[in-house]
């Protein structure tokens, strides 16, 4: 689950990370009220994606009127496909220095990596590319977490040894996001060192592991409804489907993530554009197929559907019967091309043909066929 900035800050603040005073505003009036309480504020769009500053999603407001105006402009704007549902009004900081602090899962190392750099701010990726040595890294033991001396070393390696006394306990607090919330990425960038020498989280990003959601129902309950996501993805989630919206016209259903991604590749190769990624898993059960079709057909841009299934243990005739049944109960009239192979493929293909569904012998043939039918 990707938390919004104010949510991430609430969580980190509860773990002891200092944050600036701030308030959520859902309307321009609430933003004005926040500014009259807090003084000059930054009005910040709340979206689960980076780059909002460059997209005009952050405005400084010296007065309540300016805050109202800023909120009027930001609430409802579209940032990289996300409608901004609310803004976070945050008191200004007396910035002395901006540093970078974060952790994520390093897939190659199969471990968590903590990262600290004196060169914080928006250009940190450039720093990583041009002078990787400017980012100090630590792979903490996952059973006991980072030890004081390790974090002290990390601070000195990052050129922040003078701040180690304050940094070490702060990093430990951030690290608790792993042990207490199953975070897979957490980032404080910038971590502001004020002119008074205090450490404050200027921004915060927090992403938790979907696989561990069963341990953190509280997060879902508290924050699950704030975001208005893609309507098809939300519907798919309700139906327990692995579904990602794309912006093309051909609906895709595949069983297995690799096969499904491979099908997207084939459609693009044939000159078409996929409307979605939808992996119905190895089993390809009739009920799941119907759910997948229902979600895909919600999207008015969809002009045809390609289904690519390899039946391993599931039988092709079952898949075919389930698909025909789903199509009929949904009253689907758009072109449908099915590539069915594996167990009982002949029986499955016969059932499809009898019911007016075009079977294809290979994924590539199916992709070409659906592109032609939807042109």
């Amino acid at each position: 689950m990707k938390l919004l900035e104010y949510q991430a800050k609430e969580v980190l603040s509860a773990l002891g990370v200092p944050i600036p005073p701030g308030r959520v505003a859902r309307t321009p009036e609430e933003a004005a009220a926040a500014a009259s309480d807090l003084g000059p504020v930054a009005v910040k769009a709340q979206v689960p994606v980076g780059g909002r500053g460059k997209a005009g999603g952050i405005k400084l407001a010296g007065t309540p009127d300016e805050a109202r105006l800023a909120a009027e402009q930001i609430i409802g704007m579209d940032i990289k496909g996300f409608r901004v549902p609310l803004v976070y009004c945050e008191g200004a900081l007396d910035i002395g220095q901006e540093v970078y602090l974060g952790f994520t899962v390093d897939r190659d190392a199969r471990a968590n990596v903590l990262m600290l750099s004196a060169k914080g701010g928006m250009e940190i990726e450039q720093v990583a590319e041009e002078s990787p040595e400017a980012i100090a890294r630590l792979y903490p033991n996952p059973w006991r977490g980072p030890l004081d001396f390790e974090l002290n070393q990390l601070a000195w390696e990052a050129g922040l040894g003078q701040q180690a006394r304050a940094l070490v306990p702060l990093v430990k607090k951030l690290y608790r996001a792993i042990t207490e919330y199953d975070a897979v990425t957490a980032e404080i960038n910038p971590l502001v060192i004020t002119r008074q020498g205090e450490l404050v989280a200027g921004d915060a990003k927090l992403e938790t592991d979907e696989n561990a959601a069963f341990r953190h129902r509280d997060l879902e309950e508290r924050y699950g409804d704030v975001l208005e996501g893609d309507p098809y993805e939300m519907e798919a989630k309700k139906r327990n489907l692995t579904y990602v919206s794309l912006d093309g016209e051909i609906g895709i259903i595949g069983n297995g993530a690799g096969l499904c991604m491979g099908t997207l590749d084939l459609v693009q190769r044939a000159g078409g554009r996929a409307a979605n990624f939808c992996d119905i898993g190895g089993g390809a059960k009739a009920e799941v197929v119907e759910n997948a079709l229902a979600v895909i057909l919600m999207n008015p841009k969809v002009r045809g559907v390609l289904m690519n299934v390899f039946g391993g243990i599931t039988r092709g005739d079952e898949v075919a019967r389930g698909l025909v049944q789903a199509r009929d109960s949904l009253g689907m009239s758009l072109p449908l091309v099915v590539r069915l192979s594996g167990t009982n493929q002949e029986e499955g293909r016969a059932i499809l043909e009898q019911n007016g569904v075009a079977p294809a012998a290979s994924g590539w043939e199916a992709a070409q066929k659906i592109v032609e039918l939807t042109r």
């Binding site: 897939r107 990262m115 990726e125 059973w143 391993g312």
Partner: protein, 288 residues
Amino acid sequence: MAILLHSGTRVIVQGITGREGSFHAQQMQLAGTGLVGGVNPGKGGTTHLEVPIFNTVAEAVRETGANATGIFVPPPFAADAIMEAAAAGIGLIVTITEGIPIQDMIKVKDFLKGFPEACLLGPNCPGLLTPGVGKIGIIPQRFASPGPVGIVSRSGTLTYETMAALTDVGMGQSTIVGIGGDPVLGLSFSDAIQLFESDPETTHLAVIGEIGGSDEERAAELLASGTRLRVVAFISGRTAPEGKRMGHAGAIVSGNRGTAKTKEEAFRRAGVAVAETTDEIVELLTKS
């Protein structure tokens, strides 16, 4: 010969009495696997699928001499099951379970450093199949046939498809290994390639990768240093959209690796043929 799974491998299944575990344990028997027992705490002393059930892995190892396990335990308990198997001295731990929390797997990986003899395959993988000998996991054996082609893959159904297509053209397989699609995995592409390299019966190899991580790039580097195998690589997901990123941490760690393009280029640089479709995997393997 094959790799990892041989005729002498003595296999148990953890979670054998569950719905999935039970079904696939039976399929494993049908594929010829030497299934010697199962583990389910509280059901020790009973029999299931004509093999004895034990309360703990340690007991199963003691009583049956098991040296491999297939794990079908639900996600909240799967990490513990892996560590239990390693601690009991199991050499090959195949974890089929999908949805294990990433932080659990990071702890498992650290724990396994104390058990260098234990080889973990997966999690979230289809397991492995040595045609004519047996399987641990869920790969459908009916599409496989014995022969010289090794397959190592991150995907399930794409693997089945490739092996079925190979069987159709008369090219059998030595061992089919699904390493799984999770971010934190056991056996890597490079590990599997090294095993195939030293298996005299394997002469050809299909490497089926996906976007994300850089296991494929590392495998390409390994292959660049020389191989006796005829290798074809395929990467799924070249048109997948980039995930919507929030922070910078991921980019700092992975840099510009991990895309289909970087992976394909790495293989080409290593002199490995790259297939653009799964049909082409078979074409390239059968050529010359």
